[in-house]
């Protein structure tokens, strides 16, 4: 049995609960055990780094320190810490790397951790992402062997997102631009993987919050290209990507007056389906852009949750304030 330390990250407790549920659902079949890090804290996402450097890295490293202590405590303690969220993975991995590349950073951070009775020696742990572990430790053959309901006929756009394959200081990925890990895994599930050139393009990250127009354009590109290439749905490895493309797709459509309907699911949810689990156990149905029709291709029946019908409310919504910069032009051009 493979044992790992788990750093779930905040979103897996809220907006990406489905990710956590589906993750738990596939651990059994794959005989993997995750041990959550005691009292972990938020990694600061992309926000804290911009405010104050040392606190930001101390915040991140506290988790590494806790994890290291935890793994040292047990005899069969694993040195590998797994993060399902790309942003968390990046922050943890980056902190660990920079503290080695620039020792002075490590010194300061440990000075801070001391105040909490903690300390962390950079390089003690291996920080890895969920899909990395699944593809390279568990292996595609094992995964293939657990498939009871192959995803035949489901056309999936593999969306790796940006923070996973880059900057990749630990050289864990097959490529920075067109990594194949997600493609291979989806193929192992029997899905039809489309050629998706934007697989590592950005979803807009926090821009949905601070500069929606900017974010909407990024979302449009991703959704439009997936749609163009005839994908039934997108598969993601990152809560942030899922949130932006799922929750803000309606807003994006409204902004560009387009009518895209591109569901996006976590790859773990698709694994669950392939392993024969029912949508209910996998948190399928809580996405705002429903995957019902897409999954109908598999003969999978998704329970109807009360859909907040974006269309109906659209006319009630107040007119969007639009920036006069080329935002509108882009909107126009995009209309098909």
């Amino acid at each position: 049995m493979n044992k790992y330390l788990l750093y779930p990250g905040c979103s897996l407790e809220s907006s990406a609960k489905a990710y956590m549920e589906s993750l738990n659902a596939i651990l059994g079949p794959l005989d993997v055990h995750f041990e959550e890090i005691e009292d972990w804290n938020c990694c600061g996402a992309t926000e804290y780094l911009g405010i104050n450097l040392i606190p930001a890295y101390s915040l991140i490293t506290r988790n590494l320190a806790l994890a290291a202590r935890q793994s040292a405590a047990q005899m069969d303690g694993t040195r590998t810490i797994v993060a399902p969220c790309s942003a968390c993975y990046l922050n943890l991995a980056k902190a660990d790397y920079y503290m080695q590349e620039r020792p002075s950073l490590g010194v300061k951070v440990n000075e801070a951790l001391e105040a909490g009775g903690l300390q962390y020696k950079a390089g003690t742990l291996d920080v890895r992402h969920l899909i990395d572990v699944l593809v390279y430790d568990i292996g595609l053959d094992t995964i293939r062997s657990k498939v009871t309901r192959p995803l035949n006929g489901l056309r999936v756009a593999p969306y790796m997102g940006c923070m996973l394959p880059r900057p990749d200081y630990q050289h864990r990925w097959s490529d920075h631009e067109h990594p194949t890990e997600l493609d291979d895994l989806l193929r192992a599930l029997g899905a039809e993987v489309i050629d998706y050139p934007l697989t590592t393009s950005c979803c807009g990250g926090h821009m949905t919050q601070i500069g929606p127009e900017t974010a909407f354009e990024l979302i449009r590109r991703l959704v439009a290209d997936a749609d163009e290439r005839g994908a039934h749905l997108m598969a993601t490895v990152c809560p942030m990507c899922q949130l932006n493309i799922d929750a803000y797709q309606g807003e994006m459509n409204h902004y560009f007056s387009t009518g895209y309907h591109m569901p996006i699911l976590f790859f773990t949810q698709l694994m669950g389906l392939a392993f024969g689990k029912e949508p209910g156990e996998l948190g399928i149905g809580v996405e705002l852009v429903s995957s019902r029709n897409a999954l109908a291709n598999l003969g999978v029946e998704v329970p109807i949750a009360q859909e907040p019908t974006v269309r109906k409310r659209k006319d009630e919504g107040l007119p969007m304030p639009r920036r006069l910069l080329n935002g509108r032009k882009r909107g126009k051009e995009a209309v098909k």
Binding site: H176, E177, H178, S201, A224, D225, E333, A334
Partner: protein, 669 residues
């Protein structure tokens, strides 16, 4: 300390401009040596701006004569740079050259340390060490060995051809070895050559023919060097002549076999994967020599045991399926390596999409595409083989000047990019973009060519292309390749839709350069190119006497420079040949048979078989002709019976003491 009478030592500290004086207190160092090393025999210590200059050398010669110096220490650069210079100077003044030693206080001190106090302190140690060493030096005489007038040239590209012809024309014999079936190298693949645009084949073919027919040139194609032994003037080289399965004596090069051969395979080498060839083939029409080779991996007969079409139809019965690889030995005095380059594998820059996006081409592919004798007869078309592009983007610095791939500039890409722009414009009238970081058009008539291409209306964008994608954002981009780049002069990001993208891939050392270097006993730079003896003053010689390099094997360069280097290397070789003999450093081991106990410990140590045991007298003997002077046996001998000239125990022990300031006043405890 030696009991011998004091030698008269002169110490000369070089400023090397500010190279040394900047970090080492040179005046102080000279003064210190004069005082602290006086008791060791230092009678004079001077410092001077440039010791290697003629004035500096005269200064030393004068002192030798007037002060009767018996030993000289020059504290300057690495002995690998100027040892010869100063030893020659000493010789001119009548002092045995081997009584001169260099103390490296530039490479080992001033260039690698910053604190002047510390640096000066270390410099003192280095000088003290060298002084006590030189005292133990003994006069030596160079060993003269005859030079074999034959020369080996490895690599039949333009540089190799040039070198071979120059030497052959001078009346000396050359063995020209080429790995491929024909000589000609990369130049044979090109259509036009910048900046004059003369046809590559037109200027190259005559040279190839001349090399192929020259009475003084033995051409060995489809062959590789497998072993090299010996030393300058007397190399013994083993060459593997790969089985051609064609009897050269009988073959007339009529080409019927190739015509009749039913097996078509993609030509990864000459056609850069863009065209086909048969299983038995000559890579191109003007190939030299004219007789074909059979590629065993793809030949139907070798795979299935039947076919033999070539044999059936060959009018002279020149096909021989039983042919074996053949090993031949040649004796040569000098060797020139012109092994050329490999093209950078553009697939590694995955954001440019080569290998994923059909209409992204490499420079070599485009050379074939635009070559009248190429797979499309010179029609510039897309991968589909018919559509002519309406817009073409040429991307510079692919894999070059990039810490993710190769740090260095590949030199030719800018001019090549301009050449491509011209050809595309001339043959298709398409809109052409050039994307560059810096336009580098140095050398004669190059910038004029840039001007010409500007005139033709090629659009230049200053910016390293970020990505080539097929993900259209807007209608106008649908079905095109989009080049996304920051136009750094406009300060705006641009997305430029084109039909075809050409990647100016950089040049790389041959994949096996390291092994080849090892085979010939020369080193490679960090980037993997063969290292020249001196980057400016000795660009075609190497650290190993008698081995020379030319062309791209030494670093990226264009045709004119490759030819120039080929000629330069041949001049260096001719100079050696004409001297008839060469002086070897007399660094050898020898056995003092009085002391030899015949224990035979040393016997197994010599890889050059220089050590023999004389059964009758029960002592060991060393053959100076075979001894390479590594000194391993010297270190091994328990009786201390083996002495090593140039690096004797006495010299090294003395140097240790000196380096540790054990030889300073006051010594007696």
């Amino acid at each position: 300390m030696s009991e011998k009478k004091l030698e008269r030592v002169g110490v000369y500290v070089c400023h090397c401009g500010t190279n040394i004086a900047g970090t080492v207190d040179v005046e102080g160092l000279a003064k210190w040596s004069a005082e602290k090393l006086k008791h060791q025999g230092v009678v004079i210590a001077r410092d001077y701006k440039f010791m290697c200059s003629s004035l500096g050398q005269e200064l030393i010669e004068k002192d030798i004569k007037e002060l009767g110096l018996t030993r000289v220490v020059v504290a300057a650069c690495s002995p690998h740079l100027h040892e010869k210079t100063f030893r020659t100077a000493a010789k001119n003044a009548g002092l045995n050259p081997y009584l001169v030693e260099l103390a490296s206080i530039r490479e080992q001190v001033s260039w690698v340390h910053t604190d002047k106090v510390i640096a000066t302190e270390k410099a003192k140690a280095v000088v003290a060490g060298t002084v006590s060493r030189v005292i133990e030096n003994v006069p030596l005489e160079d060993i003269k060995v005859p030079i074999n007038p034959n020369t080996l040239v490895v690599g039949g590209g333009i540089a190799g051809i040039q070198a071979a012809l120059e030497i052959a024309n001078a009346g000396f014999h050359v063995y020209l070895v080429e790995r491929e079936p024909s000589i000609g190298g990369h130049m044979a693949q090109f259509d036009k050559t910048f900046p004059t645009l003369d046809c590559s084949a037109c200027i190259l073919t005559p040279r190839m023919v001349e090399a192929g027919t020259h009475p003084n040139i033995t051409l060995l194609t489809w062959s590789e060097v497998t072993n090299v032994s010996g030393y300058v003037g007397n190399f013994n080289v083993t060459i593997k002549k790969k089985a051609r399965f064609v009897i050269e004596e009988l073959c007339t090069g009529c080409g019927i076999c190739e015509e009749k051969c039913p097996k078509k395979v993609i030509d990864e080498v000459f056609e850069a994967g863009l065209g086909y060839r048969k299983a038995v083939y000559t890579p191109f029409a003007q190939a030299v020599p004219r007789y074909p080779v059979m590629d065993k991996e793809n030949c139907t007969y070798f795979l299935k045991g039947t076919c033999k079409a070539c044999e059936k139809f060959c009018p002279t019965g020149a096909i021989d399926f039983t042919q074996q690889d053949e090993f031949i030995n040649v004796e040569v005095g000098n060797i020139i390596l012109t092994t050329g380059y490999d093209l950078f594998d553009a697939r590694r820059v995955s954001n440019y999409g080569y290998g994923r996006l059909p209409n992204v081409f490499t420079s070599l592919e485009f050379e074939r595409l635009s070559n009248a004798a190429g797979p499309t007869n010179g029609n510039i078309v897309l991968r589909d083989g018919k559509t002519t592009p309406k817009s073409v983007g040429i991307i510079h610095c692919v894999g070059s000047r990039d810490k993710n791939f190769n740090n260095y500039c590949s030199v030719i890409c800018c001019m090549q990019g301009l050449k491509f722009a011209h050809l595309v414009h001339e043959r298709t009238g398409a809109t052409v973009y050039n994307f560059y970081i810096d336009m580098r058009t140095a050398y004669k008539a190059y910038d004029e060519f840039y001007q010409r291409v500007l005139e033709e209306g090629t659009l230049f964008v200053r910016g390293k292309v970020a990505e080539v994608t097929n993900a259209a954002r807007y209608e106008r981009e649908k079905g095109k390749l989009i080049i996304q780049v920051e136009d750094t002069l406009a300060g705006k990001q641009r997305r430029i839709p084109v039909d075809m993208v050409i990647l100016s891939s950089g040049l790389q050392p041959r994949h096996d350069a390291k092994e080849v270097g090892k085979l010939f006993g020369i080193s490679c730079s960090t980037d993997g190119w063969f290292t020249e003896k001196h980057p400016k003053l000795d660009p075609v010689a190497t650290m190993t006497e008698g081995i020379f390099i030319a062309g791209c094997a030494q670093g990226p360069k264009d045709i004119p420079s490759s030819v120039a280097q080929g000629a330069a290397a041949s001049a260096r070789v001719l100079d050696k040949i004409l001297q008839r003999e060469v002086a070897l450093e007399p660094i050898k081991a020898s056995v003092d048979q009085e002391l030899c106990s015949g224990c035979r410990i040393c016997n197994g140590l010599c890889p050059f078989h220089a050590i023999t045991f004389l059964e009758d007298r029960m002592v060991t003997e060393i053959n100076p002709a075979l001894c390479q002077g590594c000194g391993t046996c010297v270190a091994a001998c328990p009786a201390g019976a083996i002495g090593g000239t140039g690096f004797s125990d006495e010299q090294i022990m003395a140097q240790i003491d000196g380096l540790l300031f054990r030889t300073l006043e006051p010594v007696e405890a």
